[in-house]
């Protein structure tokens, strides 16, 4: 996926860029409206993440001109303002969704996924491994023509594993990615989801192996 992040706070932008790239997305960064206009005029993005308070103006004016140019690219607004005062304006101006700062990366990821799914992600999002066809947007998994819909945590776990094929993913890091920080979960919770995924992957030629004491690894058989 190709994202455009419009955010003037460099350290926040860096963190978001790192995280999105970690998930395998291509992300461009614009620190102001002028740069954002340039980027969006020359590149076709799947999604734009837009901050509202920018040094050279209000992100909403970018949103308005973006919509006036009839560009279909969905926009998620990043706002630090009180929801009680700002909500209506942003959705009225054509934002597809908004997320309030500070945000959880998994919430951002979930909102991006929901917006992209609403915009009808095409089959180019599908990923193939052996007999396996995985559509992360639709959250479906097809093995030998049989399609099942994954639960959210299964989907996210599979996505994480597939983004780092043949790499070892430690249990604590998987817990961090799958559960929110205020949930008290033991690392054994991961085993439940790995178990479910293994069942789904039966006969796909893709296998999750346990690396004793270290974590899990996904690889083609």
């Amino acid at each position: 996926m190709r994202f455009l992040l419009v955010e003037d706070n460099i350290s926040l932008a860096t963190a978001v860029l790192d995280r999105l790239r970690m998930d395998g997305h291509v992300v461009d960064h614009a620190a102001n409206i002028a740069a954002a206009e340039d980027y969006s005029a020359t590149t076709d993005y799947d999604l734009i993440l837009l901050d509202i308070m920018l040094p050279d103006g209000d992100g909403r004016s970018f949103l308005r001109s973006h919509r006036n140019r009839l560009i279909e690219t969905p926009v998620i607004v990043l706002t630090a303002r009180s929801e009680v005062s700002d909500r209506v304006g942003m959705l009225d101006l054509g934002a597809d969704d908004y997320i309030t700062k500070p945000f959880d990366f998994s919430e951002l990821e979930a909102r991006c996924r929901a917006v992209l799914r609403r915009h009808g992600g095409d089959s180019s999002n599908q990923r193939r491994f052996g007999n396996l066809v995985f559509d992360p947007l639709a959250g479906t998994l097809s093995v030998a023509g049989k399609t099942i819909t994954l639960r959210n945590k299964e989907l996210r776990l599979l996505e994480i594993l597939l983004n780092g094929q043949d790499r070892i993913h430690s249990k604590p890091k998987l817990v961090d990615r799958l559960f929110s920080y205020d949930e008290e979960v033991s690392e054994n919770a991961i085993e439940v989801y790995v178990g479910r995924l293994r069942k789904h992957l039966t006969g796909s030629g893709v296998e999750i192996t346990t690396v004793r004491g270290l974590g899990y690894r996904i690889s083609l058989v």
């Binding site: 009680v84 309030t100 700062k101 500070p102 205020d182």
Partner: protein, 461 residues
């Protein structure tokens, strides 16, 4: 609503009373002036007839053969009879000697010179009389002889006439007073009308309508309207400022927190040592706690602010709840929570949509936050006889017998909230919003006892 203001009387009543009072004074004055004038005119008329009568008697006095003869003309007395049925007295005397007439009729004109006349009002035989005395000097046997003629008439007719006149004057005065009173009421009413119209125009306005008053008013009211407009302008500036302040404060607090949180989360993905990871997780939780608390405090400030100037527009609660469920779906999905909405089309309620949405959102946020993975949350709207209810039912274990009333107090959190990020303002905000709309917030344990069931009940419009 607000306490009744102390009043310093009614402008209209004061104006009416003053006008009616003036009318009463004027009517009394009118009565006396008319009466006095009529009395004078009647007196003068009577006097001139008396004088004419006396003159005609005087004309009949002649000196013949050294003797004075008086040939009393009939007309002299009959002209008085024409005026009224009052008795007439007369006397003709010369050098103090009565020639003819009533000898006891008082004579008052001893000092009169020839050709002069004098009027007098006095009592005679128990009746009030008006009399005139006329004097003329004749020459008798070469010596001057002063003839005095007195003509008098009782005043009963005149009194009757005066009574008639004063009745008319009284009627005139009363009529004047009556008409003036009606006019006073009308004047007071029409003087107050621009004030009433201005009042109606101002009170018709919605709570968010802070435009200056532009309608034409009488020039005396312009200072009042100008001050009112200045006041409105000041209010608008101050409202905008506090709204901006809250928004700005939210921005200032949340932006750095967002940066720290994002950095911490990225770092967490890179470090391996369990102690470092544990402290980073602690950090993220602390950030979440402070940002949520700050957010809810600011939301609470904004909610309180909006409640003060409660907007009243039609809200479709079913639509609102459905939108909210759609919006929170991605968050619920993260925990594989089955968040569902069921509800039929309900009549609209009136209120502030942003507030109602924020209240419902707080309840839903709580439900999602406290629900375990793979549970379900059911959101529904329904209409009862007098209310429209948004209900949020979860399987998060409920409030464990805690006093549900206490939960809606500021900064109180349920027993199950231990270990979960929150500030305890969510339920307070929800309750304040619902109550500002005349409704109630019900917190119950659901039927199976597995969770909470929170109902936001809004009265039907």
């Amino acid at each position: 609503m607000s306490d009744p203001l102390p009043t310093s009387g009614s402008l209209r009543r004061r104006l009416t009373l003053q006008l009616v009072g003036s009318a009463a004074v004027l009517a009394t004055l009118l009565f006396f002036v008319v009466l006095g004038f009529a009395r004078d005119v009647a007196q003068q008329t009577h006097d001139s007839i008396l004088l004419a009568s006396a003159t005609s008697i005087m004309d009949s006095v002649s000196v013949q053969a050294d003797a004075v003869t008086v040939d009393l003309p009939y007309a002299a007395l009959s002209m008085l009879g024409n005026v009224s049925d009052d008795r007439v007295f007369y006397s003709v005397s010369m050098r103090g000697q009565l020639l003819t007439g009533y000898d006891d009729l008082p004579i008052s004109g001893q000092m009169l010179r020839s050709g002069q006349s004098a009027f007098d009002t006095l009592s005679y035989k128990g009746d009030g009389i008006r009399m005139v005395t006329l004097s003329r000097r004749l020459s008798l046997n070469g010596a001057p002889a002063d003839i005095l003629i007195t003509v008098a008439q009782t005043r009963e007719g005149q009194a009757a006439q005066l009574a008639q006149l004063s009745r008319s004057a009284l009627q005139l005065g009363l009529g004047f007073f009556l008409v003036a009173t009606i006019l006073a009421f009308w004047t007071a009413q029409s003087s107050i009308r621009p004030l009433n119209q201005l009042t109606a125009a101002v009170s018709r306005r919605g709570p968010k309508d802070l435009r200056p008053v532009r309608r034409p008013v009488p020039s005396e009211m312009i200072p009042l309207v100008l001050s009112l407009n200045q006041f409105i302008a000041r209010l608008r500036v101050s409202l905008t400022r506090s709204e901006d302040f809250i928004a700005e404060a939210a921005h200032r607090v949340r932006t750095p927190l967002a940066t720290v949180r994002a950095q911490a989360e990225i770092t967490l993905l890179r470090v391996e040592k369990p102690e470092n990871r544990a402290s980073l997780r602690e950090m993220i939780r602390a950030i979440d706690e402070s940002s949520r608390a700050a957010g809810q405090l600011l939301d609470h400030a904004m909610v309180t602010f909006r409640i003060d100037t409660l907007e009243r527009k039609a809200i479709d609660l079913t639509e609102l709840a459905k939108e909210l469920v759609d919006r929170l779906q991605p968050i619920a999905e993260l925990k594989d929570i089955d968040l569902r909405f069921t509800g039929s089309r309900c009549p609209t309620i009136t209120g502030d949509a942003i507030l109602v949405q924020n209240a419902t959102r707080n309840i839903l946020d709580n439900a999602i936050k406290y629900s375990p993975s793979d549970s379900a949350i059911q959101v529904s709207t329904r209409q009862t006889t007098s209310e429209i209810v948004i209900q949020v039912e979860d399987q998060a274990g409920g409030f464990g017998g805690m006093d549900t009333e206490v939960l809606t107090h500021r900064f109180t959190r349920g027993d199950n909230a231990v270990g979960t990020v929150g500030s305890g303002l969510g339920l307070t905000i929800a309750r304040e919003v619902v109550e500002a709309h005349g409704g109630t917030l019900l917190i119950e344990t659901n039927k199976s006892g597995t969770g909470a069931c929170v109902s936001l009940c809004f009265p039907l419009a």
